[in-house]
Amino acid sequence: MTRRKDLIDIKSLDISEIECLLEYAASFKEILSRPVKKVPTLRGRSVATLFFEPSTRTRTSFEHAAKIMSADTYSLNASASSVTKGESLKDTMYTLDSMGIDAFVIRHPQSGAAELASRYVPNKPVINAGDGSHAHPTQGLLDALTIRDNKGKIEGLTVTIVGDILHSRVARSNIWTLSKLGANVRIVGPATLLPPDAKQLPVEVFTDLDKALEGADVVNVLRIQLERMTVGYFPTIREYSRLFGVSKKRLENAKPDVTVLHPGPMNRGVEIASDLADDKNFSVITDQVANGVAIRMAALFWLMGA
């Protein structure tokens, strides 16, 4: 198998590569439980995280993962860098490359930005930490790992993704990861927030939440991304919450042992009821965060370790 340089999206990965990343992450979780969380794998290597969009968990978890593996990390905030002086993505990549940075983690509001950035550093790995509404591969992988941990498998499960599918890179990376691993994936949301290309995706499309939740093993609740909504996609937040907000009551038609995921940050009381988010009988949101660190260690090891 030819070696990958980058991790840009899930769609282009083979099943064996997805399995390999999940296996690495499952193995690396042991390190997170040690008193001394440090392994020497990436000693003397450097990782830059370039975030052109705000983030708490993705950025921290990439940097934590890199540091556990002994890499040195540099974090560039677009709002506090030369980007504000008009420096292009191209010049930013050339500059960091010349400094000798070994790998790049990029988040950008524009779809395709990570792939573009990777062309400017032809010999170094680029990991996409979210580009516009295109892909967020490590989120898709960590959700798959969390589901596998809780259900013991992914093949044959029915997974319902609820909410703003149109703007969601998380939805796209989930759809590809889970369908490649053999799950039946459903998407549901207001018709205005379903992607026009939904028919080309390996999913069943619903506009009625109750029907979409019937018999579901897993529900992945997406955040309403108000920052990406330039026009009115639904009349009011309250109406959205009434029609598509996931609560314990709405889960009555799902499997009794249904598992609830949310990629964060949550709008409590909008897309997910607050008591559901905190109920450990359903919610695995904190597991997702812990698995995020392991998946990012796996991604760094996959591209830089061997």
Partner: protein, 185 residues
């Protein structure tokens, strides 16, 4: 030994069969007990992958001989290697369900050669605590050391050329017990 001329081989030749492996490994179990004066404060740690089942076998044999068994664990050293060259190497999970602090540890592996695996394992153990002593048990020592490392217990010394491969098969992983040697290419 099979009595064949090992230097002229193209197909694999069996250099240890199941019986020879069993006897050698039983002797190693006795040697471990003799050197450490029993199982007090002793622990076995197999290096992933083939060291795992080999450590388990020592545990079983030691329990049969001594009536008590030492704790047994598995150590994955993937993150400590300095000689990775393959894409998507196989990685295991470290499972050491006991504190190694102050214990006498016997590291267990199938083949000792350059010593780089053992070097990685020593570094990995260092991150988990401070044992009072670390010893090394291997089924086969094939030579070609690149580091100042030696085994305390050896099932069989097997002089080889650098162009030969030594492959240990274990019933638990491969369905049969034997050690084979073959020419490269």
């Amino acid at each position: 030994m099979t009595g064949q001329n090992l230097t002229n081989l193209n197909s694999p030749a069996v250099v240890m069969d199941a019986e020879e492996m069993r006897r050698a490994w039983t002797r190693v179990a006795h040697e471990i007990l003799e050197r450490n004066k029993g199982v007090d404060n002793l622990a076995l740690i197999g290096i992933f992958r083939k060291g795992g089942p080999l450590a388990k076998r020592l545990e079983t044999t030691i329990e049969r001989i001594e009536g008590a068994k030492p704790p047994c664990g598995i150590l994955d050293i993937s993150l400590y290697r300095d000689d990775f060259r393959t894409y998507q190497p196989k990685v295991g999970t470290t499972q050491i369900p006991f504190d190694i602090e102050g214990r006498r540890i016997v590291l267990v592996d199938d083949v000792l050669s350059t010593g780089r695996t053992v070097r990685a394992a020593l570094n990995a153990l260092n991150d988990l605590g401070r044992p009072s002593a670390i010893q090394l048990a291997v089924l086969v020592d094939r030579g070609h050391r690149e580091l100042p490392i030696r085994a305390d217990y050896v099932g069989k010394n097997l002089p080889t050329s650098r162009h030969e491969f030594v492959r240990v098969s274990l019933t638990e992983l491969d369905g049969a017990d034997h050690v084979e040697i073959s020419k490269a290419g």
